[in-house]
């Protein structure tokens, strides 16, 4: 199962890194727009939340599609399935790898944003942990 997990990660690492960079840039732009108004909390800004919700849905769908497309050739599918590994383990490896890639592409920039906002001195607005919930909801 570990071999399959590693294979999936290696196979889709590039799109995950690209997704991570893309979301980082998008968050930076939204963050700058939000912090122009003194006292506004970027984590609650509608524009930022719209961007994250759209991006998370798209990147999640993209990884699902990529993982399926790469194995969709009949013979490659047989190569994946015909091995002494129980089918549920193969599925689990695929799911875990997909979640890991998603966490890299979407989770990492969002966590970085939360940490940045949480550290005192960065944003001139009060911070409460419940403010993170909308971003977490987008990510999930």
């Amino acid at each position: 199962m570990r071999a399959l997990f590693r294979k999936e990660l290696q196979e889709n690492l590039k799109p995950a890194v690209l997704g991570c960079l893309l979301l980082t840039v998008m968050l930076l732009v939204q963050y700058r727009n939000c912090t122009v108004v003194p006292g506004s909390q970027p984590l609650l800004a509608r524009s930022l939340l719209t961007v994250t919700s759209l991006f998370c849905a798209l990147i999640g769908g993209l990884f699902g599609w990529l993982q399926m497309r790469r194995e969709s050739h009949r013979d490659l599918w047989a190569f994946l399935i015909h091995r002494p590994v129980p089918a549920p383990n193969i599925l689990l490896a695929e799911i875990l790898a997909g979640l890991t890639l998603y966490a890299l592409a979407a989770g990492l920039p969002l966590v970085a944003l939360v940490v940045w906002v949480w550290v005192p001195g960065h944003v001139a607005a009060p911070f409460e942990w419940p403010m993170v919930l909308p971003v977490v909801a987008d990510g999930l």
Binding site: L4, K7, H73, R74, W77, A78, H82, R83, P84, P86
Partner: protein, 309 residues
């Protein structure tokens, strides 16, 4: 065929829409030796193989491989079955070495020296990326990956498809190498009848999803005979000849391919008053073509158990 067969199917059937791809297939593959699975394009060979490996559900009927139901092949059974697909598909982004490592991690028994031997035989660079390999090189890599777990049963789906003669020969040699132990079985589908003739012990012939023959190669070869009749003038019109598969006319001669040529057949042929009647050697390819010709496919079923019709 006293031992339990490594492959057994009972009424195995698969429809794609209204069209039957495989129909009521009853097949037994004995342990040991090389079993060739023959048929034209679209005759249902790949569909059968995919059903045997549990990659495709049969519409009805059932199959067993190494004593396990094909619909529930456990991992320990899959470890004992090597499968080589016809397109030799692998992950293009991997290197040859990575492919080996990826497969080795999944198999409890992995003989790295076999993989290295096959790679050396095909002159493959371990650092080469799969996407840069030629078709023959990819076939070699796939073969190495299939042989390294030392499978008890090797299922090859038209392994020589698209290979040059050298790669084909190498592949055949590897198959022979694998079956040097009597408990190993190779089950392969092929269009290359010359290869089949060289290595197969048994053959099965599938035509439009229906099994037309299943017997030792030698039985098949001796069951289909070719006779040349020479005449002083123009050859007469042929009467009903028992077991006739194919007849072709030449100048002053007629060649007929017959199934189960015997005294009755000869008597009918002699009644045409030829100046000469000669039994001629027939290649497996000609026998196969005659057998699956318009007459043959509708008239005869050859199986080891049925014997003479």
């Amino acid at each position: 065929m006293n031992e339990q067969p490594v492959i057994r199917t009972r009424g195995l059937t698969r429809y794609f829409g209204p069209k039957p791809a495989v129909l009521e297939l009853n097949l037994e593959v004995p342990r040991g030796g090389v079993f060739a699975f023959l048929g034209r394009n679209g005759s249902g060979k790949t569909t059968t193989i995919r059903m045997l490996l549990g990659l495709l559900r049969p519409t009805r009927g059932e199959g067993e491989v190494l004593g396990f139901n094909t619909l529930a092949l456990p991992p320990e059974a899959r470890a004992r079955i090597g499968y080589l697909t016809e397109d030799h598909q692998l992950y293009g982004w991997m290197t040859v070495r990575e492919c080996g490592q990826f497969q080795a991690r999944s198999y409890p028994r992995w003989n790295e020296s076999i993989l290295r031997g096959v790679l050396a035989h095909f002159d493959l660079n371990p650092e080469a990326q799969v996407k840069d390999l030629s078709r023959g090189e990819r076939a070699g890599l796939c073969l190495g990956l299939t042989l390294a777990p030392e499978p008890e049963l090797l299922i090859l789906d038209d392994p020589a498809l698209g290979l040059d003669p050298v790669a084909r020969r190498t592949l055949i040699e590897s198959m022979v190498y694998l079956t040097r132990r009597s408990d190993r079985t190779v089950f392969f589908s092929s269009h290359q009848l010359a290869d089949v003739e060289r290595v197969a012990d048994y053959i099965a012939v599938l035509e439009r999803g229906v099994l037309r023959a299943c017997c030792p190669l030698e039985t098949f070869r001796t069951s289909v005979q070719q006779v040349r009749l020479r005449f002083a003038g123009a050859p007469p019109k042929l009467p009903a000849i028992p077991g006739l598969l194919r007849a072709s006319r030449g100048e002053g001669e007629v060649r007929v391919a017959c199934m189960h040529y015997n005294g009755a057949t000869e008597q009918v042929l002699r009644s045409l008053a030829p100046i000469d009647l000669e039994l001629m050697p027939i290649s497996l390819e000609d026998a196969f073509l005659a057998y699956l010709g318009e007459r043959g496919e509708k008239s005869f079923i050859l199986s080891e158990t049925e014997g003479q019709p």
